[in-house]
């Protein structure tokens, strides 16, 4: 069913990582990404692996869930792997057939890239597993707030994201309902040619759009009734608070990054 698609894939359990300040989690994840792509040596991959492993244990997210997050990128992995494997030239040649050639350089780079992408996805999905989408938007708003001085509508953007996120489950539920209702009237969405199938979407899309517009209108009215007038002077129900655990986590991340930099310089 559509409802099983969890957006942002938030996995609500109680753990140290779940309790962390979302702003710190975002900064740490960004540092992790930079570290992964900056390091040209295998040490950065080891450090990345350590990071993912530690974060996974601390957040109590089952390894199965993390592996599941890798599933959608399997085609990309295969594509990148093959591309690097065949197109890069250098070092010893292992295999050659007409213009197809596999070399040492190719094998090395393709393995390196694969591990790197896997770690990238695993690390970032840990962020979304442990942080609800709404808190994430709050944190982004808070991190971007210096841009307000440059007249960037940060609050408005965050509010738009929050509303969009808030209504995705609602609209999915609505789509489910409409689909069920049209199926009850014998609508057939699973068979037929491409054109027939596109045609079969009309009975779903029209009611869905109508309801989305209706909801938007009602929401706008409700916000106005409660005197919403933008971000100026607005206080929050959930205030983002940072504490000891956030500082420690950030410090550890910086140390890890520093170690990777040092090792890179020494080993090169």
């Amino acid at each position: 069913m559509l409802k099983d698609i969890t957006l942002g894939q938030y996995f609500p359990i109680d753990s140290v990582v779940h309790k962390m300040d979302a702003r710190y989690k975002i900064i740490i994840t960004l540092l992790f990404l930079v570290m992964l792509f900056w390091g040209q040596h295998v040490t950065s991959l080891i450090a990345g692996f350590v990071f993912v492993a530690v974060a996974m244990i601390c957040s109590k997210i089952p390894p199965k869930m993390v592996l599941k997050s890798l599933k959608p990128i399997v085609p990309i992995l295969i594509f990148t792997g093959l591309l690097n494997l065949f197109l890069l030239d250098g070092g010893k040649t292992y295999f050659q057939w007409k213009f197809v050639k596999i070399t040492e350089q190719g094998v090395q780079t393709s393995v390196f890239m694969l591990v790197r992408i896997c770690l990238l996805i695993a690390g970032t999905s840990l962020l979304t597993y442990t942080t609800s989408p709404i808190v994430l938007t709050d944190a982004i708003e808070s991190l971007l707030s210096p841009l307000k001085k440059l007249k960037m509508p940060v609050h408005e953007l965050a509010m738009m994201m929050t509303i969009a996120l808030r209504f995705i489950p609602t609209l999915i539920e609505e789509t489910d309902k409409i689909m069920a209702a049209q199926k009850a009237r014998g609508a057939d969405m699973e068979s037929g040619s491409l054109i027939q199938r596109a045609h079969a979407l009309i009975p779903i899309l029209i009611p869905l759009f109508v309801s989305a517009f209706r909801r938007a209108e009602e929401l706008a009215l409700a916000m106005e009734c409660r005197c919403y007038h933008g971000g100026e002077g607005r206080t929050r129900l959930r205030v983002l608070k940072s504490g000891m655990r956030d500082y420690i986590a950030l410090a550890l991340m910086i140390l890890l990054f520093a170690a990777v930099i040092v090792l890179n310089i020494i080993l090169h």
């Binding site: 609500p12 069920a180 009237r185 109508v210």
Partner: protein, 288 residues
Amino acid sequence: MPILEAKNLTYTYSIGSPFEKTAVDHINLQIEQGEFVGIIGHTGSGKSTLMQMMNGLLKPTEGTVLLDGKDIWEKNADRRAVRFQVGLVFQYPEYQLFEETVYKDIAFGPKNMGLDEKEIDRRVRETAEAVGLREELLEKAPYALSGGQKRRVAIAGVMAMEPRVLILDEPTAGLDPKGRTKILTQLSAYQKRTGCTVMLVSHSMEDVAKYVSRLLVLSHAKVVCFDTPSNVFARGDELETMGLALPQITRVFRLLRERGITFPDEVYTVKYGAELLRARLEGRDPQC
């Protein structure tokens, strides 16, 4: 043989996730041909989930649904055909209207059945009349109609498939008392005329008491009882602990009894209650 039967029927949402919830828990039911069954239960008692399993929209986690004794989830079973035989009108069905005209929207179901133009035309006109839609409304856009009219168009859309079992999930929700009575009376008349089986989901006792022959009470995903309205209402105190209110008229007569004014049996329609009182005042026997 019952027309529709549920055996050990169970449905669990989001199995294996932290949101797992059993909405229907090992339910057994037998619905006979031509019955008018009411289904009541508070919000979240599993009414809607149960109804969606009855016409094969949801696949049971456990157990079976039998239509004329045949399992609808049997291999190679045609579930689309099942849906034409067990018509389901969802809650707030007016939100599913999509065609340019009322006529086309009602015709959507019959068209999917592959009927010819003449038959479709007959069915659209007949059902529109059955739900009290005037002829000239048929060519209007559904979005131009009032809420109550839209609701009727949606109900007609399912009726036009002429299902042998018609299931309605809270068809009167959000309507004013007049609109409510009108829809229910028309439904009752339709059921008598066609002899089809009707299952009416509601959380208002008032609504169902008047029309149904049997009443199914659900609470916390399980069947509490499935009996005639008078037998069900006899367990009034039990119903009230489940958050279901008895019809107001029944409560009035219970209070009268507490004050020593007794009547032979339980009252659950205003008409019957009024007749009892009038007869008592005039010192004669009630005539119904």
